[in-house]
Symmetry: C2
Subunit: 245 residues, 2 copies
């Protein structure tokens, strides 16, 4: 099995970013996913200064390194991967979907640079000439271009995700929320009528009961049976009198 990518081996390189909010959003995505090496190449000076001084800009931005050329920014990297929204940028580079590209990146030993271009123009052909290959996020044809901060977040998530995260067993084929809400409100009526809930004693008692109901996986076909039972109980409770039989 290949050694998984060490997060410290990843460098996120922002090229010619224009907007301080976007630099900040990218930095936040790094810190969300535990990645610390942010590099900026020829940012608009004002945007970079503003981003650095923003509240909550935090450690990733304070430690960000500035370069005047891509060659310098990726000099210590063994693999340089560009990001693009375009599908076939004249086919000068191999382009892979993010899912596949991430598998290759994770298998790489040594340092990896992940390049993001400017908000408006993406990576130029000049920028791309420094890349070994490109990845694209599998966006829909109706709107292929993501914001910088969202694109960085999605790429980093894909790199750190763990496909083997365990799933708890849950039964599906559930009743609709409308049916569950009907069960909940009828049950609440019953609980009040029976004295189990004292009227208005605990203000969030309704929510506690709603959670109790929601934690059960109510099969769709049983929902009306439950509602019927509860309604009968409620009717009997409200009618009053001694129990029958």
């Amino acid at each position: 099995l290949p050694t998984p990518l060490k997060l410290d081996n990843l460098r996120v390189v922002l090229v010619s970013t224009r907007n301080s909010l976007n630099i900040g959003a990218a930095a936040r995505a790094l810190s969300n996913f535990g990645i610390h090496k942010l590099r900026v190449v020829n940012p608009y000076e004002k945007a970079f200064r503003e981003a650095k001084s923003a509240v909550g800009g935090a450690k990733v931005l304070a430690d960000a390194e500035e370069f005047t050329s891509i060659a310098d920014a990726v000099a210590d990297c063994n693999l340089v991967v560009g990001t693009t929204a375009v599908r076939h940028r004249e086919l000068q580079h191999p382009i892979m979907r993010l899912e596949a590209g991430s598998r290759l990146i994770r298998k790489t030993s040594g340092n990896v640079a992940l390049l993001f271009g400017s908000e408006k123009f993406g990576l130029s052909n000049d920028d791309l000439s420094h890349c070994n290959w490109l990845i694209r996020i599998p966006t829909s044809d109706e709107n292929i271009s993501m914001t910088l901060g969202q694109a960085v977040a999605v790429c980093l998530y894909e790199l750190i995700r763990n496909g083997r995260a365990p799933v708890q067993k849950e039964k599906l084929k559930l009743a609709s929320s409308e049916e569950m809400e009907r069960i909940t409100t009828t049950l609440l009526d019953v609980l009040h009528a029976s004295g189990f809930l004292k009227r208005r004693q605990v203000s969030d008692a309704d929510n506690r009961i709603r959670r109790v109901v929601r934690r059960l996986a109510w099969p769709e076909r049983d929902a009306t049976v439950w509602t019927g039972m509860l309604r009968q109980i409620l009717w009997k409770l409200r009618k009053g009198g001694p129990p029958e039989g």
Copy 2:
């Protein structure tokens, strides 16, 4: 094999969102990933109006539906999943990592609502009482909380991603960019000295050559050999005179 989630069966529900830019960013993520059903519950009215009128707000926002309660917003859903950054919100609900939760969501037949809380407070206990279970994005402990737009983008990406996207074979264990750049500049000198490139004839010839070099997977151990060969050739070209032998 389970039927994969139909994108039309997914409803993204924003609860009590305060900021128009965040509503816009969430809407953009929907359109990036081909999802069309955006619902908002009790948004700050001004924020929702501003978001709807924003340039590029586009179809998803124009079609967004507004509700005054979560119960109404999820009434047609068979599964309601909340999102949270918190790990153990008093353990009232099962919480799963996004990777695992997405597998369950994809297996669900019927409609699925994915709930996102306000930027500042997330989903309240009241909001959460409508959920069957919760997912959390596997963020780093150093900064667990993502921006709304980035969180929506990452969740939707995970739902649409295709883990079987094909990988092109690439040999890894590559030379560093510094070594590849040394090969590139030496080769360029050789090409100029040899007359293959006429000086300054094509302004982006250097980039074309750099791409040609980068498209090869240069094994690290061969880099110095190549540089040595090219330097010898360059020396000979510059020395001039008839070929030896």
